[in-house]
Subunit: 394 residues, 2 copies
């Protein structure tokens, strides 16, 4: 066979995380690699009751085609509960239901980026987003971060100096992979820059509600006066990822375009699971469920960070995330985290090496650790083993 | 707001069908417009039982992230039951689960087509596919059809004369919109041409199993010696469209690329509904369910065609489909079916005007009628009314 593929598909490669996850499915592996929620927290019995109701009461509707925009009661819940809680006043005509926010990432590059255009992102940034964007053949411009998130002066400099920036991608809350959070001041500033330069900000916010201490940060979109900020939300981390439910919240003129992309891409999201999610959130409190998740993840974060303090060499630094799923580890510059991962896997411990979070390469000396998917005992044991592996490099 | 969209998204427009469907949701409208299955045939009770089992027995797995390729038991069922029944010997490493075959259409153009490249399609062709393809800025080359489907000499001529054809798109069984079926001889020939010119054939086969008389036709892929034929299947017409489950069957080298596109686009299809579909097909016979659908749709087709004979002017011609969901009506050349639709809507009858099934325009004097979604009484009444409307033009 000798077949010609499109230019855009030539550069695609498998997500290292998803490939790594296959290796880590052996039960003896202590995996800090994926970004998987804790499945023991899924409200299985309640979902079972709700599903029976949906099928008994609205079975024909639940199994039939429905509108591209999404199931209206679910869109309403997103407006009134999720977006409102993040400080965003919006309406259902600003909400499109998608198959997890990953689909919204794909659509965003499809909607804004021509070949060679610049996408601005944080350095490091979420690997799954970078992979989705790559299909549209962009150039990436990375902006450095400090403890308050993306550096705004550097961002403005980039916007001034390049006339083909087409979108700014940010994960403001407990960023994947760095665990860092953008300050409120910078949220205001990025919204202003977005308006000033007329460049959309894609605000990817899967973790904002999983906050362990302090009060939640307002979305960047809550400071958006002119409609340039597009917020991506998801139920994957606060409810169940297997249901593939996320949303796009955008100015109506922009959302119309996203709806057309959704129509061409797969007509609509799953009718049944949209109805299950909506009914669940009508009959139970998602906020209460999120509280449960937070209390478990907070303990797991604490034990991971405490163990890292105890078992990692003192020279190794890492983020103290105030929420979300990840911490980010910085090794000495000459250490290659891919090599460390190979050594760790021999001890049945896995993580994601940092290099693939940098679209323009380099930065081999970092890695990402997830604490949501392993219980406390395994976290302690895993970090102990990992500490021993790292010590060999120091 | 003044925002710059990508070139590819400037040409997108809403599917006329989905826009029309919104107009036809008033209960008094007799709609022959959509391609909706009959919801009264959905096996709701069985799905309810199956879902309870899946959640009780494998709840954590069903609600968690899973692999991009799809749920293995479902891939196996597709190999052993669906593809095998269509004459295709294949294996699970050749199957990728997608959100209905619409997603496979989007991926196909994404995988093979650069801006300006040629996509060959039947004239007319499925509007939803044309819309999905348009996002990749192709040129369309339409090949005429007769009662045996796409004209193969014209196809070979086109392949000879153009060096930037990147894919051939065909719906061989009870085509949408024309209701026509490609002969076995032509299926062999198109597979040969595909190998000879090294151009992939996208064989879109949503209706092949809904055959009312005679034996089912073998897939084009069953004649594929070198791996150039890619078959798209779906459970939307034989099971439930709301579950959004379709598949791609392709040579492993090609499928790997599709898997990467799926990974970037939305990570994976819905875990829960994949498991529901697999368990349903393990515990019940999908073939028996399809038999039920066929017996109902066959009666509806019969009453539609009989009524058209009776109530349409004799000069009006239309397809006698041997399966599937649609018949295709040809009016006198000077009649604009959009105008006819406006008149028909005043009588509360809807259909889809034919023009949007021709990517290069023209052909206003045709329209598509669906017979799967209305009961016999409404079909009879709707065709009577439509006959009266059409008579005013003759």
């Amino acid at each position: 066979m000798d077949i010609e593929f499109s230019h855009r598909s030539l550069g695609l490669k498998a997500s290292e995380i998803r490939e790594l996850l296959k290796l880590t499915q052996r039960p003896e592996v202590i995996s800090f690699a994926g970004g998987l929620p804790a499945p023991e927290l899924f409200p299985i019995e309640k979902i079972n009751l709700i599903t029976t109701k949906v099928l008994n009461e609205q079975g024909r509707q639940a199994l039939q085609y429905s509108t591209t925009e999404g199931y209206n009661p679910l869109r309403e819940i997103i407006v009134k509960e999720r977006m409102n809680k993040s400080g965003v006043k919006t309406a259902i005509q600003n909400i499109l239901i998608v198959n997890g926010s990953q689909q919204a990432l794909d659509f965003s590059a499809k909607l804004f980026v021509n070949k060679g255009d610049i996408i601005i992102c944080e350095s490091p940034s979420y690997l799954g987003a970078l992979n989705a964007f790559k299909a549209y053949e962009p150039t990436f411009l990375e902006i450095s971060m400090d403890d308050d998130g993306m550096n705004m002066d550097e961002l403005e400099e980039a916007l001034k100096n390049h006339n083909n920036v087409k979108m700014i991608y940010t994960i403001p809350d407990f960023q994947n992979p760095s665990g860092k959070t953008m300050s409120v001041e910078r949220r205001k500033r990025i919204a202003e820059l977005s308006s000033k330069y007329k460049i959309p900000v894609i605000e990817d916010s899967p973790y904002g509600e999983l906050i362990f201490e302090g009060s939640p940060y307002p979305c960047i979109k809550s400071f958006d006066k002119d409609g340039y900020v597009i917020t991506l939300g998801t139920f994957s981390k606060t409810f169940c990822p297997g249901l593939r439910l996320g949303w796009i919240c955008a100015h109506e003129e922009i959302l119309k375009k996203y709806i057309l992309l959704k129509q061409g891409s797969d007509l609509q999201s799953n009718t049944l699971t949209q109805m299950i999610a909506a009914k669940f959130m009508q009959e139970y409190s998602l906020d209460e469920h999120i509280e449960k998740i937070i209390s478990v993840y907070k303990k797991r974060r604490d034990i991971m960070l405490d163990s890292m303090e105890k078992y990692f060499p003192k020279e190794v630094t890492f983020t103290y995330p105030k929420g979300g799923l990840f911490t980010w580890v910085n090794l000495r510059e000459d250490i290659d985290s891919i090599d460390v991962n190979v050594q760790a896997l021999k001890q049945n411990v896995a993580f994601v090496p940092g290099a693939s979070f940098y679209p323009n390469g380099g930065n081999l000396n970092h890695f990402r650790l997830n604490y949501s998917n392993m219980n406390e005992e395994r976290i302690l044991e895993g970090i102990k083993r990992l500490g021993n592996v790292i010590k060999q490099y120091y």
